[in-house]
Structures are given as C-alpha cells and as structure tokens.
C-alpha cells in the first residue's frame, strides 16, 4: 500500500502517480491522506486500483473513472464520478450536486445524501444513494439505474429517456415526461441486486419505480405546454 500525503504532495503528483500505474502496474492499493477538500482528486484513472481518500474531497473527485475502486471517507463536492465509465466510487458521507453526471458505467454509492441534479444526463451508470437527493435529479437521464433510499426533490426525472429510477421515500414532484410505473418481478430482482451490491439492507418491495412516459421523444405540437 502506498500513501500520498496531500499536505506536501500536489494534486498533479497524485494523479500522475495513479496514471503511471496504467503504464507499469507497481502498486494496486493507494491511500490519499490530508485531501483537504482539494478538487480533481483521482481523476482519469484507468487501472484496477483501490484508492482510499481519507477525508473530504472537492469538485470532480474520481471524474471519468475507469476500472478503479475509489472510496472517499468524507463528503465530496460537485460532480463526483462525473462521466465514470466503469469501476466503483463510494462516498461515505454526502455529495454535492451533479453526482455521477453523464456517467456511462460502473457503480456510484453515496451513503449519505446527494444534492441537486444527482445523475444528470446519466448514460448507463448505476447510482445508489443511502439518503435523499435534491431537485432536478436524473434530468435527461438516458440509461442506467438510480436508487434512492430516502426522498427525492422537485422535478425528478425531467425529460427522462431510458434511466430507471427507484425511490423508497417521497417524491416532491415529477418532472416533465416522468411517471410512476409498475414494479414487476424483474424490477424487484434488479433492485435487490443493486442494493446488495451497494451494501444497503433495504426491502426492494418498499420502493416505487419511475420511468419515462416517452411522450416527448418526438416533437408534437400538442406537447408544447410540457416544456
């Protein structure tokens, strides 16, 4: 295990050291101490590394992650795991807005709450939130699954494409073209698998499913008032 102390090393030092592992793998397990809320920690990883960040992180932590497993023992700023392709990112605390934005794959677990626009334009990632999420979450969500064990804010799933959303608590309001849908056995099964993988002991039957009504996929004059 290798430790990088950000009270003396720079963010550039950290990311370069982690990127170098893609060329020559010498160490799989990394600890980042004294992160101090710095931005852009562990971004662009492209190797099956395990990275433990021992404290709070700023914007875009684990951005564009591929293959790596990154755990943040604290809270994170805007855009954690943005555009993640694969691997896993786990936040032990809470996340600011745009968590998992545009992410294509992998698993993002937020043990606390997530702010506004969680999963905005998500493109295949799975996001599991232990707490609640803010307004406009999953806006234009294209693919993947968003699981919320707490409540959802206003305009959930606005202009949704094919992301499936599961919420246990209350939904303040649904966005345009988002609707509640039946929980069929295959949905209970996939939700159980997601909760299990994220490490949450919740009953899938206590969740509701939301998805696209698919009424705004093509221009129709009659839909103009929906925007």
């Amino acid at each position: 295990m290798k430790t990088i102390d950000l009270s003396s090393a720079t963010v550039r030092d950290l990311n370069q050291a982690l990127h170098d592992q893609t060329k020559t793998l010498t160490e799989r397990e990394w600890v980042v101490s004294n992160p101090g809320g710095k931005h852009n920690l562990a971004v662009g990883l492209n190797e099956a590394l395990s990275v433990e960040i021992d404290g709070h992180a700023g914007y875009y932590c684990a951005g564009m992650n591929q293959k790596a497993s990154v755990t943040i023992h604290g809270n994170v700023g805007v855009g954690v795991a943005e555009n993640m392709m694969s691997g896993m990112v786990r936040i032990k605390g809470s996340a600011s807005q745009a968590a998992g934005a545009t992410a294509h794959g992998g698993l993002l677990v937020i043990e606390g709450d997530a702010g506004a626009r969680c999963g905005i334009s998500m493109k295949g990632v799975d996001i599991v939130v232990g707490g609640s999420i803010g307004h406009m979450s999953c806006f234009m969500g294209q693919a993947g699954r968003l699981v919320v064990c707490g409540d959802a804010g206003d305009a959930l799933g606005d202009s949704l494409y094919e992301t499936r959303i599961y919420v246990k608590g209350t939904v303040k309001s649904l966005g345009s073209d988002c609707m509640e849908k039946d929980m069929r056995p295959e949905h209970l099964e996939e939700l159980a698998e997601l909760l299990n993988r994220a490490g949450f002991d919740e009953d899938p039957a206590s969740f509701k499913r939301y998805g696209s009504a698919r009424q705004l996929y093509n221009f129709k004059v009659d839909n103009a008032s929906a925007y």
């Binding site: 963010v11 550039r12 990311n15 370069q16 990127h19 931005h39 852009n40 971004v43 662009g44 492209n46 700023g58 914007y59 875009y60 951005g63 564009m64 591929q66 805007v78 855009g79 943005e82 555009n83 392709m85 807005q97 745009a98 934005a101 545009t102 294509h104 626009r117 905005i120 334009s121 493109k123 295949g124 806006f139 234009m140 294209q142 693919a143 494409y161 094919e162 996929y217 093509n218 221009f219 004059v221 103009a224």
Partner: protein, 441 residues
C-alpha cells in the same frame, strides 16, 4: 385618347412575401420552422472591409518570390503538446450524426492534406475521422454524448463548447430521421428520437466552476492537450475575459453567420452578433489581459475566401475556422444536384434542410444510400484544394500589404466601406481617419 396603365404591384417592406409565407406556414403547422445553415440576412461582413495594399509608405513583398508564412501554433499557454498547423484555416466542429461518416472522413482527409485540424461534434469521435485527421480537436459539449476518457486521450486538443454562433444560448438538435442505430448507439439514445441536447453543462456553472473543469481535463490528460473554449458571439468581451481567466489555451469565437445542423429559423436569424463586430471585442479583451497572441483566437462564421481569412487575421485573429464553406467544398449544394433538390422543394444554392437527412450530396444525411454517394477520397481532395486556394489568396493579399507572415497583418491594413462596418470592426471609414464610436483628438 387614354392608354391603359399596367398597375405595378407594390410589395410591403414589412409584410414581404417571405414574411407572409412564414405566417401562413405557422398557421398551418403550429410549430416553428427548423433548418440548417447560418443566418441568411444581409449583415455587415468582411465584404465591407478593404485591405490597403502597399505603395510609397509601405513596401510590398514580391508576390511570387518572397516568403509569406502561414503556420500557427495553438495552445502553447499551458499544454505540453501544442498543435502546430501549416495553415491558419481549421475545420469547425460538425458532428457525426449531423454529417455522414463519409463526410467526416472526407473532412479529415482534406484537412490532413492541407496541414490543418478537424473538430468532432455533438456525438463523439468516429474512427473514420480519427483515422484520417492528423490533428483532431475533440469537443466537450453540454450533452457529453459519446464522451469518454479513451477518446479524450486520443485527441490532439479538447474544445469545451459553451455555444455556437448560430444559436448562442441554445442546445444541439438532431431530428429523429438522423438518429439511426449507429448514431443512437454512440449517443446512448433510443433510435429515432428527436434529440434535443442540453444548453448548459451538467456539472458546472459560471467561470469559477469552468476553471476547475479545465483543471480536471488537464489532470485527466496529464496537461498534454491544449484546451480550447468555444463561444457563440453575443458578449465576447466579457466571455473571452472569463474564459482566459478560467485557463483556456485557445478561444474559438463563432459569429452568427456560423452554421448549424438544425435549429429554429427564428433563433438562427435573431440571436447573436456578426463576427465582424465580435472580433474587436475579443481582441480588446485579450490585449487588456496581455494575452493577445498568447491565448490564440480562432474566429468563424461566414469565412468564404482568402480575403475573409486575411481580413479576420488583420483584425487580430490567429486562425479562422470554416464549416459551411467546407461542406460546399465537399459537394453540398452543387449545381449537378439541382433536379434532385427541386424534388425536395429546394434548389442548388438554396438547400438548407440539413436537418431532415435527405441531402442528395450524401453529406448532411445518415441514409446509407445517400451517404454512399460521397466519395471521401475525392471529396477530401476538393476540400484540400479549396483550403489551398484560401491560403494562397490570403498570402497574396498579405504580401501586397508587405507582410512576411499572415500574422503580421494588423488593423492598420484595413479600412471600411460603410459606417456600420467601420464602427463594428473599429477601423477607419475608407478615405477618412474616422472610426465611429472612438474619440478623435
């Protein structure tokens, strides 16, 4: 004996035939008109400027013997690997989806022959374009369709798109007829949807956030790639200052004459400002920050000739970008297509329904049969020819002004033909020393 006088029909200047037709169309359909291309209205443009050739007070260079340099380095402010182009005419961002794969390949081929770069678009990087483009700029758009770190690392530069000249403040649009299986797959969308992209980036708002975003992309790419910031011209003085402060290596400034694959007609014609009025504001912003020529300025929107190139560079641009002109060079709107274009209610020289995928030239389409009509090798050669002509023309004018490099052209080489152009371009009205809007002492 009185003769019958043939009455002259008087067309209203306000309710002209075009306005009447649009009212009738709107009444019939209940929805706005969507088309491709840029603004069609008459605007103050490079045609309203003239270059001052040398005579007694300036020495010209020998037109056929003395060297006039054309190369440009882009992105040497922070990037470890700036781009070095042979010519200062680049190919603007146009997506696979808006264009056929053959058209993207042709752009790559032509640009590489001429020694310049191409740019991806809203929808990701295709192997056809990466394979043929020696210098490829990868756009980072609000939608992030097809965005992935592997392609980010394959790119030669990254262009963060805040807007485009045809629709500053608007998002992308690709109608369902062009969202084929391949296009939908690259964008993670259902086949056949009318794709309406976001107009704001999903994970940052404002210049302070942009600075962190730029730093993130630099970190992911180990500070190798130049980072461009593309702005649709509306408030370029402020936008350029903020982009430079946020850490951009290169500013791309697109005027309202710049084209689009598909946008509302009303948006194209009524939002944004002409490139002529935008360049001086951008240059002023760069000069005030002591960043002119350190952060390079690429301008686009209505570049057609080498004269346009020379005038844009004399106004302070480091390079220009072409989009519509490049498509025309590939074969768009060619007279040989006139009969086919008339069958779809258009004609050669007028065709702008790039949104509907029926382009008989095989360029703005995803129809496999139509796409096959475009030979990427021959079309690439035509583009390379056209780029060569642009550069030769610009060099001819620069030499006449006594300049040994296109970058040595400056505003003192320009005068304006109209008061409007003089005020916008901030150069004197021809035959006077009057620059409207500037104090005279």
């Amino acid at each position: 004996m009185s003769e019958k006088i043939t009455p002259v029909l008087r067309e209203s200047a306000t309710f002209d035939r075009l306005s009447i037709q649009e009212i009738q169309r709107a009444a019939e359909t209940g929805i706005y008109d969507i088309r491709g291309g840029g603004t069609k209205r008459k605007l103050p443009h490079f045609d309203d400027l003239l270059l001052l050739g040398a005579s007694m007070s300036r020495y010209p260079l020998e037109g056929y013997r003395e060297k006039c340099g054309t190369d440009v380095v882009l992105g040497n402010r922070f990037a470890k690997k700036p781009i070095h182009l042979k010519i200062p005419v680049t190919i603007a961002g146009m997506s696979f989806g808006a264009l056929s794969a053959q058209a993207k390949e042709a752009l790559g081929r032509g640009a590489t022959i001429a020694g310049t770069s191409t740019t991806t678009g809203d929808g990701g990087m295709t192997p056809e374009e990466r394979g043929q483009s020696q210098h490829l700029v990868y756009q980072y758009l609000p939608s992030r369709y097809g965005m992935n770190p592997d392609d980010l690392r394959k790119a030669d530069a990254i262009e963060i798109v805040l807007g485009q000249g045809a629709k500053p403040g608007g998002g992308g649009m690709l109608l369902g007829m062009k969202v084929t299986e391949r296009v939908a797959g690259m964008r993670t969308l259902p086949i056949g949807v009318d794709q309406r992209s976001a107009c704001r980036h999903p994970d940052w708002t404002g210049p302070d956030d942009l600075a962190i975003k730029i730093a993130e992309i630099r970190e992911i790419t180990d500070w190798e790639k130049p980072i461009y910031v593309k702005i649709g011209a509306s408030r370029p003085y402020y936008d350029v200052k903020l982009a430079v402060k946020a850490g951009a290596d290169v500013i791309v400034l697109d005027g309202m004459q710049g084209g689009t694959a598909a946008t509302q007609e009303v948006f194209i014609e009524h939002v944004g400002i002409p490139i002529l009025s935008a360049i001086p504001q951008a240059v002023q912003a760069l000069q005030e920050m002591d960043m002119h020529r350190k952060v390079q300025l690429i301008v686009s929107g209505g570049i057609r000739t080498g004269a346009d190139v020379a005038k844009a560079m004399a106004m302070g641009a480091d390079a220009v970008a072409i989009g519509t002109a490049a498509l025309i060079a590939l074969g768009d709107n060619h007279p040989r297509l006139d009969e086919e274009l008339k069958k779809i209610d258009s004609a050669a020289g007028y065709y702008d329904d790039w949104q509907n995928g029926k382009d008989p030239a095989g360029i703005t389409t995803q129809d496999p049969e139509l796409s096959k009509r475009l030979d990427p090798v021959a079309a690439g050669r035509r583009l390379a020819n056209y780029l060569r002509v642009l550069v030769l023309e610009a060099q001819t004018m620069a030499r006449a002004c006594g300049k040994s490099h296109l970058h040595n052209l400056d505003p003192e080489d320009l005068v304006a033909l109209t008061v409007e152009a003089a005020a916008m371009a901030r150069v004197p009205l021809a035959g006077t020393n009057w620059v409207p809007g500037q104090l005279q002492y």
